[in-house]
Amino acid sequence: MSIMGIILAVVVVGGTGLFIGIFLGVSDKAFAVETDEREEAILDILPGNNCGGCGYAGCSGLAAAIVAGEAEVGGCPVGGAPVAEKIGAIMGVDASAQERQVAFVKCAGTCEKAKTEYEYHGIKDCVMASQMQDGGAKGCAYGCLGYGSCVTACPFDAIHVVDGIAVVDKEACKACGKCVAACPKHLIELIPYKQQTFVQCNSNEKGKALMSVCEVGCIGCRLCEKNCEAGAITVNNFLAHIDADKCTNCGVCAEKCPRKIIKM
């Protein structure tokens, strides 16, 4: 190895580095993609969980959609009103106050109160269990199986299985809707945070059939419907449903319910 060899090696490696540096610098300018400043500003404000609750692929997707005018400024269900306000300021739109929502599990059939038909020893997964005979081991074909598919789906640790049924932590819930989609029994729905009365049952069984499998479920007796002054309750298919827009949270229905399935 002569001195020339050393110099040549330095030249080759240094030259390669220099060439690459200049080349990358030039191509950075040449291939610069113009991004809307507002998009990045909005992305900074968004929570960044990439939960997909807005219906777009992650927070950057929503940010792009908001800038493009395809999504509302309050499109993020997780951030809620505070985030909508800040995004509204960037976009120059007045964000009307969005009502906060929470997920709610329409089942009260805990291990003690609901009967099981057989023992299920398979994979601890609701979708799997719901494929078994009679839609799962639980006597009630509409009830919560309690294998926690919603718990796995929740990005915010806001839903847990307690006594064999899923229970939502109202404060932690961001209403992203992941659990709603994950539940094979379609038990979970989004209700307004302020709502205080709710029917904790999803069963369309007639009274007698229901009573044979669950101690607490709604039998569709219509007592709540008759007693509701605001006319907010309707009973369809032997199941009471409360219209959140009409409900005044007076609590009469909870008092009258013979099964105590309407909770305050």
Partner: protein
């Protein structure tokens, strides 16, 4: 043509980059939790290795291995120059895709910059030189090697998705069972050695 086919099958299956040469283990273990991301990573690796084989092949042919410059003695610089070039190449490819093919850029996403540090890319470039492959054979070898990587990482991800639900002893949970799986896969890929 037959020689190219032999090289392709050889580097994709018989000398599988992960399971036989033990290159690119890091993404193989790191990004194989589900089939979709594994396929994304594999796709990005195929893309980058093919281009990198071509570019490093060019550099070797005209600069480092050129007998007119220092009588081809500059070969010892292969490793360092290839590292430089591959890193820059990935950067450039990322910029280029972002501008001209946003859909492909979004599909490859975060995997593209990750590949800068994937030793399989450098490994293929050096293997090409060592085996004395020309430009075309080098590119074919690179592409086939990357396909081998894609196959093994997708297989691995599929197995890992299954083992998620299995009853694994406490001490084997996580990385240990993955390494055991990788070892068993390597043994089964050993069966390909009779192919050529």
């Amino acid at each position: 043509m037959q020689e190219l086919l032999l090289i392709a099958v050889g580097s994709a299956f018989v000398n599988n980059v992960v399971l036989s040469q033990f290159l690119g283990i890091c993404p193989f273990l790191g990004v194989s939790k589900n089939v979709k991301t594994a396929a994304g990573m594999g796709g990005a690796v195929v893309f980058v290795i093919t281009i990198a084989s071509f570019v490093t092949g060019l550099i070797y042919k005209f600069i480092l291995g050129n007998p007119n410059i220092m009588g081809g003695e500059l070969e010892y610089l292969n490793t360092i120059v290839f590292i430089l070039v591959i890193a820059a190449l990935v950067q450039f490819v990322e910029m280029f895709l972002k501008k001209s093919m946003p859909s492909l850029y979004n599909a490859l996403g975060v995997y593209l910059p990750l590949i800068t540090t994937n030793c399989a890319v450098l490994g293929v470039a050096l293997t090409n030189v060592e085996s004395g492959y020309g430009l075309l054979t080098g590119v074919v070898n690179g592409f086939a090697t990357a396909v081998g990587f894609l196959v093994s990482i997708v297989l691995m991800a599929g197995i890992r998705e299954k083992t998620e639900h299995n009853d694994i002893p406490e001490s084997f949970k996580g990385t240990p069972i993955v390494l055991v799986t990788a070892g068993l896969m390597a043994i089964s890929f050993f069966g390909f050695s009779g192919l050529i």
